[in-house]
């Protein structure tokens, strides 16, 4: 069974390298600042002892006052996992750095988050809608989306 690392331990390791990146942590997750996503992700992927070589999923949650993008990371090598969470407070133009350069699997999942939640990923090679069609009005998983039936 894959061991879920404690958020506190991982937050401590990230904090030693990037003192300002971690904003919060709980039992299973580490909360980090949006602008540090790529650096922290690279650290988590490459640091000895962590080596999160597999991105299980990216998803996003709309809490009305902010968006939360959730990264589930797994290390196949060390058989452990962690959840990385990033909050975006800019509702009109939420942006995050893309992690496609680290994990190829992020490609379609970032497109999905962009399509349904409207969060743009800087540095994504092909950021466009994946489920809905080009020109669809709005992002339907946002809480303030009005159906256009």
């Amino acid at each position: 069974m894959t061991e879920a690392l404690s958020g506190e331990d991982v937050a401590k390791q990230i904090g030693e390298r990037f003192p300002n990146a971690v904003t919060d942590f709980d039992e299973t997750a580490v909360f980090i600042r949006g602008e540090d996503v790529l650096d922290v992700a690279r650290f988590l992927k490459e640091a000895p002892g962590l080596e999160f070589d597999y991105l299980t999923s990216i998803t996003a949650v709309d809490y009305s006052e902010h968006f939360e993008v959730v990264y589930h990371l797994t290390s196949i090598k060390n058989n452990h996992s962690i959840v990385l969470k990033v909050r975006c407070y800019d509702r009109d133009n939420p942006r995050l750095p893309s992690v496609v350069s680290l994990w190829q699997g992020a490609d379609f999942q970032e497109r999905e988050v962009y399509d349904l939640m409207g969060i743009a990923f800087d540095g994504h090679p092909n950021l466009k809608r994946i489920f809905l069609w080009h020109g669809f009005a709005g992002h339907p998983l946002r809480k303030d989306f009005q159906g256009n039936v």
Partner: protein, 196 residues
Amino acid sequence: MEIVERPYSSDELDAIEAAEIEALRKASREPYPDPIEWSEEDIERNVVISSVDHLIDWCRRFSVWPVNCGLACCAFEMIGLAASRFDISRFGMELFRASPRQADLLLVAGTLTWKMAPALKRIYDQMPEPKWVVAMGSCAISGGPFRDSYSVVNGVNLILPVDVYIPGCPPRPEALMHGLILLHQKISKETVLKKR
């Protein structure tokens, strides 16, 4: 071998697809009326050709080839119907065609989304006459549990004229079989003289 440059970029293809979907959405406000001329009994039937009708309808009725069109979970019931336990080859229908050009029946099994709608319409347009459409399951009938969704077509009859509706979520193969028997009855009342 000479490499032919693609005529459209991927962005242009996206724009073309989107224009097609939007045009279909705009054109599909009202459902197609169900084709029910046959129910006006035999008034229009000519005595001279009635036996021809009988023969041709008999042939058509027992060789309805469905096109392979499973859109969602209803497809499993359709597959179950085709497999040995329920076995629609008893009705001469076991040939699920991969090509619409060889099929008579469009069995819409599952949820139709707007992104899929132009493709379904194209499949229907490619089928040769005479052709019939069965809407299987609540999604195909009315959008079902996804009726208020942003991406689901509220009933296949917005896109195509539907001959038989089979309710259920999903309908059991027995229900599907019942619907197909009703379709057979409908076919048996058609006349070759009248264009559908």
